[in-house]
């Protein structure tokens, strides 16, 4: 196995996630695309860890932290979307333009 095949796959999945963040209109779908990006990042981290044969397993530890921080971010993000939905009865990101000039 080459390392470049894993890194290319990570790049492809990350690009799909970027496409999702830019395209989706529903706020929950945007969060879903961010989760996709985090999955791609984890593949990159673990591939580098295996390539460097790190005795500390740093890449895998970092991947565990990424999963944890992703879970915390999804929790808070959904709480924020819930509040927005409660106030505006819509989760459409196009309508959240209060801070626009």
């Amino acid at each position: 196995m080459l390392i470049s095949q894993f890194l290319l796959l990570g790049a492809a999945i990350f690009s799909l996630g970027v496409y999702g963040v830019l395209t989706r209109r529903n706020a929950v779908m945007v969060l879903l695309s961010v989760e996709l990006m985090l999955a791609a990042i984890n593949i990159n981290l673990v591939a580098f860890d295996r390539y460097l044969a790190d005795s500390l397993g740093s890449g895998q530890v970092f991947a565990l932290f990424v999963i944890t921080v992703g879970a915390a971010e999804v929790g808070i993000g959904l709480a924020i979307i819930l509040l927005i939905f409660r106030n505006r009865h819509s989760a459409n990101v196009d309508e959240l333009d209060l801070m626009k000039w």
Partner: protein, 236 residues
């Protein structure tokens, strides 16, 4: 490494099959018209990423992804979809129109070309060293010796997320009192004829109060699962 060598390694066939699967399900996550379908495609995507971790010999990370990313985060998403009453039918468009989709596709393709080009320029022919499977005990040792400070910081982050989620999602006490007072006034004015209506509204509010608590409990469960996984790594 020649193409022939690459093709005869059976792990590469597994890699090709899994990567086609992941690219298809990832594409369906970002283009599906049904909200619940998109979440379920994300489940399959994360499961295939766990398969990649197993292919790379990272067993602990693979099962932690299944446990936490699929088992807690996706369930939290489904709660969020239920609570925000996200459009579940086919008639509402979940994505922007083509005027946004085409530039977005160009941007993401250019990003892929840049990153992919950098990868191929830096690691054209580099193969992995001897196959090895990382023991969970080694990850635990590393986590609690060298990386213990980030571990503690992440624990505090989870605590902050937990408290923040609860504070954000609960109803204000003044709101509850105002709503209850308004209902009482309406019931007193119109008499018993409107009592069933008031009961229905009360039941709705009770459900609406329960749902944010359920979302907070899910975050709690995710935090507890992460702690359990970490302590298991330390003791195994």
């Amino acid at each position: 490494m020649s193409v022939g060598d690459w093709l005869t390694d059976s792990q590469n066939w597994v890699f090709v099959v899994l990567s086609f699967g992941m690219l298809f399900t990832g594409w369906r996550v970002v283009t599906s018209k049904n909200v619940v379908h998109a979440v379920l495609y994300l489940v399959v995507t994360l499961a295939i990423s766990a398969g990649f971790f197993l292919l790379l010999g990272a067993e602990f990370v693979a099962w932690v992804v299944v446990l936490i990313s699929i088992g807690a985060v996706v369930v939290l998403f489904l709660f969020g979809i239920m609570i925000t009453k996200a459009p579940m039918g086919q008639e509402v468009d979940l994505s922007h129109p083509n005027s946004v989709k085409i530039p977005a596709a160009i941007v993401s393709f250019v990003l892929f070309v840049f990153v992919g080009g950098a990868v191929l320029a830096a690691f054209p022919d580099t193969a992995f060293p001897d196959p090895s499977v990382t023991r969970a005990a080694d990850i635990g040792d590393s986590m609690f010796q060298r990386w213990v400070i980030p571990f503690e910081v992440v624990s505090i982050l989870l605590l902050a997320a937990l408290i923040g989620g609860i504070v954000l999602a609960r109803r204000d006490d003044s709101e509850i009192e105002a709503a209850a007072a308004a209902e009482e006034d309406a019931a007193a004015e119109t008499g018993s004829g409107h009592a069933p209506e008031a009961d229905e509204a009360e039941a709705e509010e009770a459900v609406a109060l329960e749902a944010p608590k359920a979302a907070a409990e899910k975050a709690d469960a995710a935090a507890a699962a992460e702690d359990a996984a970490a302590t298991e790594a330390a003791t195994s």
